[in-house]
């Protein structure tokens, strides 16, 4: 295979691509890591928390130098109606010490750090380079096999035994390879985010944290009529405030994304956390939201797909994860390529170890278990009826209506369910669905 420019070309130096490159380079492969932005992470934006434990396998003691903003020690889930809010707020001191749980980070910092590890492992990182298409084998023996990539550089064709496509949510490579059917808007959400500068001590005080401790708040019922959710989380001396919006619902109404954020920021439960400060950066990105049901084929002859390009993003309400799935899938892709090249078979069959590795680990096990969750979380009832029912129940529990005596909980639930317009059979079927997913 020495007649190729590289053994493996990895397209995209996000978390999937860099982990693939770390693994491949350490396995002795001639590894090229391509990035279309001026630096890794420059095109990337997310909803806030990295769960890096999978890095134990690649970068022991990764926490000693990972460029994070804060370690998440407080995790809240908030249900809003226009004038009410119910929160479940969890705090864990242990998450402020190794091995930690999650961290907030700027993706340009985090992704650059991870790509630096790929370079340290021996990979070649080439930024400012957009891949414009795939190269294919035209010989009769293995017609159609991917043999490299075209780039927008002069004489930019690069040959390789295997291409690992980590080219993100819009993956042109997966589409060109025919692994991804026509993408459907209903499978995607749009994330829009404001990074707002505030003094660290103000953030510490508002969010009740110290030092490098941080908070991640996930919110439902804050996106007007558009199905979706919101988030507020702490960086060191900025906070991030944003919403995630189901594309089909966003397209079917008249309020623009920045106005939906503004609406959430005006809520009495959110405003005191986020007001003041100066907008530091406005950003937007798509999320492959639909999980298992939208995943493309992940293996072709000479080709593997990882990360967001393979729709490996978990949007399951109480779990919102993507970077960890990207890192793991990239790592397994790299491992598979070492094995396939070692065996002299980079056909789809020879690369079969990738599907096996994904299937045996959290990457696909979480997605299979939670396959019904994304649709449930974005369903009209969860979005528009249940917040009213839940906040209504809690209000009645805490309201003292003397001289009336306290109603029983069963009566409160029954009355608030009716008032919110929730039918019993829907509640039972959604409950069963939730139990099958989360139980």
């Amino acid at each position: 295979m020495a007649d190729t420019d590289f053994d493996v070309v990895v397209v995209g130096a996000g978390p999937a691509g860099s982990c693939a490159a770390i693994e491949a380079a350490r396995g002795g492969l001639r590894t090229l890591l391509l990035e279309r932005g001026p630096y890794p992470g420059s095109k990337n934006m997310y909803g806030g928390v990295v769960y890096p434990r999978i890095l134990d396998e690649l970068i022991p003691q990764w926490w000693t130098d990972v460029p994070i903003q804060r370690w998440v020690t407080r995790r809240s889930t908030m249900v809003l109606t226009e004038t009410k809010a119910v929160s479940i707020d969890f705090r864990n001191d242990a998450w402020a010490a190794p091995p930690y749980n999650g961290a907030t980070a700027f993706r340009p910092d985090f992704d650059r750090w991870l790509a630096d590890h790929a370079v340290a492992a021996g990979a070649t990182l080439l930024c400012n380079t957009t891949v414009t298409g795939l190269l294919h084998d035209s010989s009769r023996r293995s017609a159609g096999r991917v043999t490299g990539v075209r780039t927008d550089r002069p004489d930019g064709d690069l040959t390789a035994s295997v291409v690992i496509a980590c080219d993100g949510v819009n993956s042109f490579i997966a589409k060109e390879a025919g692994l991804y059917g026509t993408p459907k808007a209903k499978n995607f959400t749009l994330g829009v985010k404001e990074t707002i500068s505030l003094p660290k001590e103000v953030i510490d005080e508002r969010f009740g944290v110290r030092d490098r401790e941080g908070v991640d708040i996930e919110i439902i019922g804050c996106t007007g009529g558009v199905n979706g959710g919101g988030f507020v989380y702490t960086n060191l001396d900025t906070i991030a405030v944003g919403v995630v919006l189901k594309l089909t619902a966003l397209a079917a109404q008249k309020t623009r994304p920045e106005d939906i954020i503004a609406g959430m920021k005006r809520h009495s439960a959110i405003a005191p956390l986020v007001e003041g400060g100066q907008l530091n950066e406005y950003s937007a990105h798509l999320i492959p939201e639909a999980g298992l049901s939208m995943m493309p084929g992940m293996t072709g002859d000479g080709l593997l797909i990882a990360g967001d390009a393979a729709a490996l993003c978990l949007a399951a309400g109480i779990w919102l994860e993507g970077v960890n799935f990207a890192m793991a899938s990239g790592m397994y892709a790299g491992r598979t390529v070492i094995e396939a090249i070692g065996n002299g078979d980079v056909s789809q069959r020879g690369l079969g170890g990738y599907a096996r590795r994904l299937g045996d680990t959290f990457v696909l096990r979480d997605h299979r278990k939670l396959r019904r969750a994304p649709e449930l979380v974005l369903s009209d009832r969860v979005q528009h009826l249940y917040p009213s029912m839940v906040t209504g129940i809690v209000e009645r529990m805490f309201r003292v209506d003397n001289p009336a005596a306290k109603p029983g909980l069963r009566r409160i639930v029954q009355e608030e369910r009716k008032r919110a317009g929730v039918h019993v059979h829907d509640l039972i079927s959604d409950g069963r669905n939730a139990f099958r997913s989360f139980g």
Partner: protein
């Protein structure tokens, strides 16, 4: 609900977009066929594009400006007029450059 001007001054959309860095290439990476848009009844791109790059024209078409594009992909996904949007990535090194995302 708290009125916006009590809590903080809302900034203009131009000021909002000015917080994001764009390294603009002379060649547009997205091309919109404004004539094809004239027959579109939804024009979902106008409301959905987070950078507000799709502007309706008086003759019922669409005017598009690629320069402050987040390269997110929302427009081609919500578009239901075949051939109206031709979408690709900017040349290497160009386009949006996030710093604190």
């Amino acid at each position: 609900m708290i009125e916006p001007d009590e809590a903080w001054p809302e900034i203009s959309f131009a000021d909002r977009m000015a917080t994001t860095e764009f390294n603009v290439h002379e060649r547009p990476h997205i091309v919109v066929d404004g004539k094809a848009c004239a027959d579109c009844s939804t024009k979902a791109c106008i409301v959905a594009c987070p950078a507000d790059l799709f502007v309706p024209t008086s003759d019922g078409g669409i005017l598009f400006n690629y320069e402050q594009c987040f390269e997110c992909g929302t427009c081609y996904l919500v578009c239901n007029t075949e051939g109206a949007i031709t979408w690709s990535y900017p040349e290497g090194g160009f386009g949006v450059v996030f710093r604190s995302s």
